[in-house]
């Protein structure tokens, strides 16, 4: 197999560096929208550095799972990112797996995170992992169905193929099935990245927190890895959404120029998407846990409709 | 043998057979036990008579023997045995059937008709008399009905014996010579043993139930 190593390294670096920026950006914009000054856009980098330097306290009840998880989470997120056409149409490791593998890798990370939520024997962790797994379980079918609509249209689960297929002249955004699928995916995105209305990344209130509850016992280096991994995961998901639905500007062949262009397009798309996320987060209130399934089942229905409409219009 | 004898023999047999049926119906209505037994004896006598007639008409010695056996067994021995039982066990005379007299008459009539219907296609095969087969079947069916209709063990035995009469009548009527001797004797002895065994059981039941009402024998269920 022939790996394009420059692209590989470039994309790895990009994922590592862009991810904190994106979450910082979202935090900042949210604050702005709520008439607060908010943290600097670069704040996440400083946080990460700080965490990396600090001492660690491990729970006395925790087992080796607890120590393995940060690495697993970080690496799976990163690897998932490499399966994705981020800047170039041809994903660096596209051969190693398509969208199914990507979802699988993220799921693996989540699996371990949930385990280490249970590991330190505290009630919060368990609550967190229980809710996390529940929500992801309900989100999964909607996400898959939405992905299937594009995958079927492209006749492949390989992300590069999907992108290339939709880069063709026949591609139009206002294909109803795509619009529906996009909406579904967006809802799933909000759930998967733990954002309002599903989860509130800012809260540490026992009864409302989901994702944060699993991290309560983490500190220092491990916390850094996890935060970073989660940020990468968010980047990957947003980029996925952006690229498979708006495959504009992805470099078909890799020259520095096209790469730079692709980078610009990517930045633009991510900014727009982040804006959308911020808007939704600020304009909504967090839902009760047992209302979340309604939202996600709505997403599922949308995806189903998307499928039906492909069936009707093709 | 000369035709007129055969003619008369046939008529005679028909007559006797129909009398047997009449006696059967009488039994159905008769409510006294002992007289029931006597009626049975009389019926058996008619049967023996038929056998004798056949024996005479065809000068078949072994049918005489059948007549003799029937006479000794069913006319003399069994009635005696049964009456002795009745006396010893002080079985009350009154028979209280399930179906009342008119009802049982009606049913017996219906059964007789059925017997005729069933026998009709094969009447052509009769050697002796006319409709004797039908009569035999009628005896069988009505006997069966009596058996269902009677409460007391001993009356059921009696009904059984009348059925046996029916069978023997059929045997004679259909076959003109009765069954082979060995079979006849076998049947005869079986009958006697059966009644004796029944007698033994009746004794034992009487001992442990102090009642002869078989409708009380209903502990074994399900």
């Amino acid at each position: 197999m022939n790996l394009d190593f420059p692209i590989l390294f470039a994309q790895t670096a990009l994922l590592l560096l862009l991810a904190p920026l994106l979450s910082g950006l979202i935090k900042n914009w949210k604050a702005k929208l709520q008439n607060r000054r908010g943290p600097r856009v670069w704040q996440p980098y400083f946080d990460l550095l700080k965490f990396l330097r600090k001492d660690m306290v491990l729970s006395e009840h925790s087992s080796w799972i607890f120590s393995v998880t940060p690495y697993v989470l970080f690496l799976t997120a990163l690897a998932a990112g490499l399966l994705l056409p981020l800047v170039t149409a041809q994903a660096p490791l596209g051969l190693f797996g398509g969208v199914l593998a990507l979802v699988g890798l993220l799921a693996l990370g989540r699996f371990f995170l949930a385990l280490s939520g249970l590991d330190p024997a505290s009630a919060f962790g368990g609550m967190g992992s229980s809710r996390e797994m529940t929500i992801s379980a309900v989100a999964e079918p909607a996400m898959m169905l939405a992905i299937f609509t594009v995958a079927i249209a492209a006749g492949s689960t390989n992300l590069s193929q999907i992108v290339l297929a939709s880069q063709g002249p026949g591609w139009k955004f206002f294909d109803p099935s795509r619009a529906l699928a996009f909406t579904a995916m967006f809802i799933v995105l909000m759930a998967e990245t733990g954002r309002i209305p599903v989860d509130n990344p800012a809260t540490h209130l026992e009864l409302t927190m989901i994702h944060e509850a699993m991290l309560l016992e983490y500190s220092g280096r491990y916390l850094a890895l996890i935060e970073w991994g989660v940020a990468i995961k968010q980047l990957v998901l947003m980029a996925l959404l952006a690229n498979i639905f708006f495959p504009i500007g992805l470099a078909p062949e890799t020259t520095p120029a096209t790469f730079a262009l692709g980078l610009l397009f990517l930045a633009a798309k991510l900014l727009v998407l982040a804006g959308a996320v911020v808007l939704v987060e600020t304009s909504n209130a967090k839902l009760r846990l047992f209302r979340v399934p309604d939202l996600l089942s709505a997403a599922f229905i949308l995806a189903m409709l998307a499928l039906v409409s492909t069936f009707l219009f093709s | 043998m000369n035709p007129p004898t055969a003619e008369t023999a046939s008529n005679l047999i028909t007559l006797l057979a129909s009398f047997m049926l009449v006696l059967q119906l009488l039994m159905a209505v008769q409510s006294m036990l002992v007289s029931n037994i006597r009626l049975f004896a009389l019926q058996s006598l008619l049967l023996a008579g038929i056998a004798a007639v056949v024996g005479y008409a065809y000068s078949a010695w072994h049918v005489y023997l059948v007549a003799l056996l029937t006479f000794v067994g069913k006319v003399v021995f069994l009635p005696w045995l049964l009456e002795r039982l009745v006396r010893q066990l002080k079985i009350e005379q009154e028979i209280r059937p399930f179906v009342n007299v008119p009802g049982s008459m009606l049913l017996c009539g219906a059964l007789t008709v059925l017997a005729y219907v069933v026998a009709h296609p094969v009447t052509s095969l009769e050697r002796l008399g006319s409709n004797t087969l039908a009569v035999a079947l009628a005896l069988l069916l009505t006997g069966f009905f009596l058996m269902i209709n009677r409460r007391k063990a001993i009356t059921q035995v009696l009904a059984l014996l009348t059925m046996e009469n029916g069978v023997m009548l059929a045997a004679i009527a259909l076959t003109s010579y009765g069954m082979p001797l060995v079979v006849e004797i076998g049947i005869f002895f079986d009958l006697v043993t059966a009644v004796m065994v029944l007698g033994i059981l009746v004794y034992r039941i009487r001992e442990s139930f102090d009642s002869m009402d078989t409708s009380k024998l209903n502990q074994l269920k399900g």
């Binding site: 505290s122 229980s130 797994m133 609509t149 492949s156 | -």
Partner: protein, 693 residues
């Protein structure tokens, strides 16, 4: 030198048939030996399970040789016993399909037998281990026979024998009433399925006029459509009961847990696969070109079983029951592949049919491995804690680390997470379903992505379920003294688990290698061979026949992970040089002393799911408060929550009650009155006289 040649000659001249015969004899010997040495437990255990191990290995070899021989290699045949009735012969035959399942049963059999060498010691002095060994061997024998039977008679003979021996093992610890009831339920259900199968097979026999499977090949073409469909339905019922398809599954979660754990592993891993085997054999080999609705039915049944199976599993806090429910789920997934394959046969896409078959069969093997592994792990836990109730476990990862590792591997595999084998076969299933959309224009094609989505739901729920299963069982603090005093399992038990764990990893990392084994199978059943098209880049990547339709390489992903590992390590070296790590108490809202009671329970963990799907579960809860002056200051609270098993409550129990009530009514016929009896005879006579002449 000459010796070497002789040996070489022997080795080269070994035939699958010989090995198969050897393994069958071995099982028989093991069974007899187990009974023979019954009074000397150690010897009996060693002998019977040793024999089982060897026989399983030889069976494994036979299967490998057969499948390695490639497509079209002649199927060897054996005559086991002289036949009482000439037409009903005891013959076995090893064609590709049989060989595949022989592979499954032997692989699992070997591992479990090794495990049992240690596990059976737990029965010493309590139950007769020799008897266990004997039944165990008999079960393996019967199962193997079922897979290799060559004619209807032999198949049914083995099938019933299997049910019988399985019953003996399920009710092995018959002192507990629940065990007895479980055994009875199991045996009744399996007898019902035997009844369906007998009728179904005899319907085929009507058309073929011969019992041998060879003559039944494609016999469906010679049958009237009505009879063909009837046969299909009968087979679906019969085999469906055996492999626990919802709603015929009720016996499975009851019977599997109460058996000794090694037997549970065997039952969940292999026994229910006899149903899959039969269904494949019948639908792809005998019944001929399938109508559309067969495939759709199986696909639907699979989807429903998968989702409901995992949902019910989530509600369990009995570890073995949980695993048993997961068997239902995985059977569902297997059936999805097979159903899709049937549909493709109907629409005339043999290539895709082969893909579906491979997906189903690969998942069959995988499920055998990881489910066996998980049950063995559960057995080890049971052995250590003497309870099946997860609420009394916890903290075992520290006390039995190796078992925990193996169990975790199994959990990851069964949750279909990369890079293990569960992921690979589910990937194949996804691909099959996605490809299916394009095969037809009828509305039916929506069924494919729909069931794909359901598969996704299943996968996610399975992950949730095994976070719970592993987390509650092995992590945090022990919830009971027994769990606190737990100890690592015996070496042989660990060895048995290690074998299966290794299998899971290998099957996960090198799928393209193993997919070669399916060539003879797909050749036999759908007439094409696929492995060459499925393996890209020298078998490092698993790809699809269609151009660029998608590819995955679990090995590649693992390597990627390994290559990326330096990044976090480097981060640590660069920034965290001065960082210290110390152990401290878990934060408990500032309260001192974190007790196990504060931990999340299994029931609590699955509460959200229970609430979301309450329409299905109809959860009931009763809370009893004891308080002194106000309910808000309760001194003691008892909380109970139950869920309703819909099919048992709404379908089976009413049915049973009606039947028994009816029977009691009918008993009135025998009321003891001799006159009534005479009347019956009289009526019978009259009726005959009136109508029968």
């Amino acid at each position: 030198m000459s010796d070497l040649e002789a040996w070489a000659h022997i080795v080269t001249s070994v035939q699958p048939a010989t090995l198969l015969g050897a393994s069958l004899c071995g099982y028989g010997l093991g069974a007899v030996g187990g009974l023979f040495f019954m009074l000397r437990e150690k010897l009996a255990t060693a002998f019977s399970f040793g024999a089982a191990t060897l026989s399983a290995l030889s069976g494994l070899l036979a299967g490998l040789l057969m499948l390695g021989g490639g497509a079209g290699s002649p199927a060897p045949q054996l005559e086991l016993l002289p036949a009482l009735i000439p037409s009903l012969r005891f013959t076995v035959r090893l064609d590709a399909l049989s060989a595949l399942f022989l592979l499954v049963v032997s692989l699992l059999g070997a591992a479990i037998s090794i495990y049992s060498l240690g596990y059976a010691k737990g029965f010493f002095g309590r139950k007769n281990a020799g008897l266990l060994g004997a039944f165990y061997n008999a079960l393996l024998l019967a199962t193997t026979l079922t897979f290799v039977a060559d004619n209807i008679w032999m198949f049914l003979f083995a099938w019933e024998l299997m049910a019988l021996t399985a019953y003996c093992l399920v009710s092995f610890e018959h002192e507990k009433p629940e065990t007895r009831q479980a055994g009875v339920l199991f045996f009744i259900m399996s007898h019902i399925d035997a009844g369906c199968l007998i009728l179904g097979f005899l319907l085929l026999f009507q058309a073929s006029g011969d019992y041998s499977f060879a003559s039944l090949h494609g016999v469906g073409a010679a049958m009237s459509p009505g009879k063909r469909d009837a046969a299909f339905v009968l087979f679906l019922l019969g085999f469906g009961i055996k492999c626990g398809v919802v709603p015929l599954h009720i016996w499975l979660p009851v019977a599997h847990p109460v058996a000794p754990s090694n037997v549970s592993a065997l039952m969940s891993g292999v026994l229910i696969k006899t149903g899959i085997y039969g269904l494949t054999r019948v639908c792809f080999d005998f019944l001929g070109a399938p109508p559309l609705w067969w495939g759709v039915t199986i696909l639907a049944a699979g989807t429903i079983s998968a989702v409901l199976g995992v949902l019910y599993a989530l509600m369990e806090h009995d570890l073995k029951r949980l695993l048993a429910y997961h068997s239902i789920e995985n059977i569902g997934i297997i059936l999805m592949g097979l159903g899709a394959a049937l549909i493709f046969l109907h629409t005339g896409h043999p290539l895709l049919a082969a893909l579906g078959l491979i997906a189903g069969m690969y998942h069959t093997i995988n499920h055998a491995c990881f489910k066996g592994l998980l049950f063995l792990g559960a057995g080890a836990v049971l052995h250590a804690t003497h309870t099946r109730n997860m609420e009394e476990m916890g903290g075992l990862a520290k006390r039995m680390p190796q078992t925990a590792c193996y169990f975790l591997l199994g959990a990851v595999a069964i949750s279909a997470l990369p890079p293990l084998n569960g992921f690979v076969s589910e990937w194949l299933t996804y691909q099959t379903l996605l490809q299916g959309f394009g095969t037809t224009d009828s509305l039916w094609r929506l069924a494919f992505p729909w069931s794909g989505a359901m598969l996704a739901l299943t996968g996610a729920l399975a992950a949730a379920c095994f976070v719970k299963a592993f987390g509650i069982t092995f992590l945090a603090q022990p919830r009971s003294p027994a769990a606190g005093a737990a100890h690592e399992a015996a070496p042989s038990m660990r060895a048995g688990m290690a074998v299966l764990a290794a299998a899971c990893v290998l099957l996960g990392l090198f799928p393209a290698l193993f997919i070669r084994l399916f060539d003879p199978l797909t050749q036999q059943l759908s007439g094409v061979q696929l492995s060459s098209q499925l393996s890209l880049n020298h078998g490092l990547v698993l790809g699809l026949p269609a151009e660029k339709a998608g590819s995955v390489s679990t090995l590649g992903l693992v390597l990627t992970g390994v290559c990326l590992l330096p990044i976090p390590l480097a981060l640590r070296l660069v920034f965290g040089r001065k960082a210290r790590t110390r152990r401290g108490p878990t934060w408990a809202c500032g309260q001192p002393g974190l007790t196990p009671q504060m931990e999340y329970t299994a029931t609590g963990f699955s509460k959200p799911i229970r609430m979301i799907f309450k329409a299905l579960f109809r959860p009931r809860r009763d809370v009893q408060r004891e308080y002194d002056f106000s309910p808000y200051f309760a001194t003691n609270i008892r909380f109970q929550s139950h869920i309703e098993e819909v099919f048992v409550e709404r379908l089976y129990r009413p049915l049973r009650i009606t039947i028994l009530r009816g029977s009691r009514r009918i008993r009135a016929l025998q009321a003891g009155s001799i006159h009534a009896y005479l009347l019956y005879i009289f009526v019978a006579l009259l009726l005959l006289l009136l109508f029968a002449l």
